[in-house]
């Protein structure tokens, strides 16, 4: 039996380039794209994060 744990949400926008630079993350030596969030989704789901 196979159970799905997670699948990507459908995204309206891809390649918008608004994501934060990976190297501004926590590590500076093993910057990992997959540990980042999509900046646009973050803003859309949390208006307080909107950068005015």
């Amino acid at each position: 039996m196979i159970r799905t744990i997670a699948k990507p949400a459908e995204k309206k926008v891809t390649g918008c380039g608004e994501c934060r630079s990976t190297c501004q993350s926590a590590c500076k030596t093993s910057c990992t794209v997959g540990n980042q969030s999509c900046e646009r989704i973050t803003r859309e789901t949390n208006p307080e994060k909107e950068v005015k």
Partner: protein, 440 residues
């Protein structure tokens, strides 16, 4: 392409093309692992078992969640600059043995960036940012707090220029916290989107490496200061960031130690060094993999008790993470992200700073070396052939260009030790995701 892996008694299937994660029973795991090319005996499976598994697989394939075609998304290639790492000084008040930056000096005379040069870097960023509205600048060193007054003036200047040009700046500072006083805390809390504070964990681990210029351990001073800062930080971002070496392969104890100091945002990175007694070597990998599992267990134990914390490398967001264009683009160093050193010279990132072969220009000249920039701009997951068959490729994007270059001599050539650690962290992160969703 998919990847079947076991974590303790749990079996997982990660579908590379769709980015989906599934759990499954042992028979299904064995059957699919065999199909993936793993050396797994499936002779015990009956035809009825195989038919049932095939039916499950077919259903997922029809939904595009297994054996999904891999992306044809192309890398983000805006041609704009969106972030700078500003080396506000090449000097440091610590003498950490493992420092990739030569204890802050970057293999050159110790040097401070002038306010004029730092402002010129801001001008360079704005002038080359195209229509991008949000820009990032990271104050880096050496130790940036040795130049707090310059940073304050540069931030004020960037805010002023940003307002004129319709740009919003997000600032980060990476600091060893030794000079983190009330004034710096107040400034950081007002102006810094993120602050990265270096502390390696337990006193004996930290003090063995992170010594002051007088040779004394810095643990007692920085722990107290970081605690004070974090208590004042509210809901703004920060990370306490440690480094583990061959001397503390039991680094899960350091992460938990940091969590127990009240820090809820933690990263712990493998050292980047060729110093023999500190460097991570192939023979350390089995212990490191076991340690990531140990950390995963301790992390989940705390989470279940309501004492959860954020560990950077376990943040695998398969549902809302970066888009595929970003995932194949890697970090953007040398193309949309650069480092500026105290004399204004520009490099692809902080780890290339000072290497003449990678000098791309100077903020006073304005122009960037197009040959080097194109080399980095055209570098992406699809140009890293070693990554073709790796399940982790859409999460790690082919690794760190600097790491690849320094260990393998080519920004396109992933460093196998880093890859092995990365893959283990990803598997642990996926298990964390399953547990948090109540599915493990």
């Amino acid at each position: 392409m998919y990847h079947v892996f076991k974590y303790k008694n749990y079996n997982y299937i990660y579908d590379v093309g769709s980015g989906s994660l599934h759990s499954c029973d042992q028979k299904t795991a064995d059957y699919l692992a065999h199909g993936e090319g793993q050396n797994v005996d499936i002779s015990y499976l009956s035809q009825t078992d195989i038919d049932a598994i095939a039916e499950d697989v077919r259903a997922l394939e029809e939904q595009g969640l297994l054996n999904a075609p891999e992306t044809t998304a192309r890398p983000v290639k805006s041609g704009y600059v969106k972030a700078l790492c500003i080396h506000i000084c090449h000097d440091c008040n610590l003498r950490c043995r493992y420092c990739f930056a030569d204890e802050g000096a970057y293999h050159a005379p110790r040097e401070f960036m002038s306010e004029q040069t730092a402002k010129k870097a801001i001008d360079f960023l704005i002038a080359n940012s195209g229509d991008r509205r949000v820009l990032e600048a990271d104050f880096f060193g050496g130790e940036p707090l040795m130049c707090l007054d310059v940073i304050k003036n540069v931030v004020a200047y960037a805010r002023e220029q940003g307002a004129k040009h319709g740009k919003k700046f997000l600032f980060t500072t990476t600091t060893n916290a030794l000079l983190l006083d009330d004034d710096a805390i107040d400034f950081f809390n007002r102006e810094m989107e993120n602050v990265v504070l270096s502390i390696d964990g337990r006193r004996e681990v930290h003090d063995a490496i992170r010594k002051t210029v007088n040779g004394r351990g810095s643990f007692d001073i920085v722990l107290q200061k970081i605690k004070k800062f974090v208590q004042s930080r509210g809901d703004k971002s920060y990370y306490v960031r440690g480094t583990f070496t061959a001397k503390n392969l039991d680094f899960s104890n350091d992460v938990i130690f940091l969590a127990e100091q009240g820090f809820d945002s933690i990263s712990m990175e493998p050292v980047v060094t060729d110093i023999d007694d500190l460097a991570i070597k192939p023979e350390h990998l089995p212990a490191i993999k076991r340690e990531y599992e140990a950390l995963c267990e301790k992390y989940l134990e705390k989470w279940k008790k309501g004492e959860g914390f954020n560990f950077f490398h376990f943040n695998i967001d398969l549902e809302g993470g970066p888009c595929l264009s970003k995932r194949v683009s890697a970090c953007g160093a040398g193309n949309e992200y650069f480092s500026v050193v105290p004399n204004g010279d520009i490099y692809p990132c902080h780890q290339f700073a000072g290497d003449p072969a990678f000098r791309m220009g100077n903020v006073y000249e304005g122009a960037l070396n197009s040959r080097i920039r194109e080399k980095f701009a055209s570098s992406c997951l699809f140009t890293r052939s070693d990554c073709d068959k790796c399940f982790a490729k859409f999460i790690c994007s082919g690794g760190c260009s600097a790491n690849n270059y320094h260990f393998c001599g080519d920004i396109q050539k992933p460093y196998p030790i880093t890859c092995e650690m990365m893959k283990k962290r990803i598997e642990c992160g996926m298990h964390v995701l399953a547990v948090k969703k109540g599915m493990a």
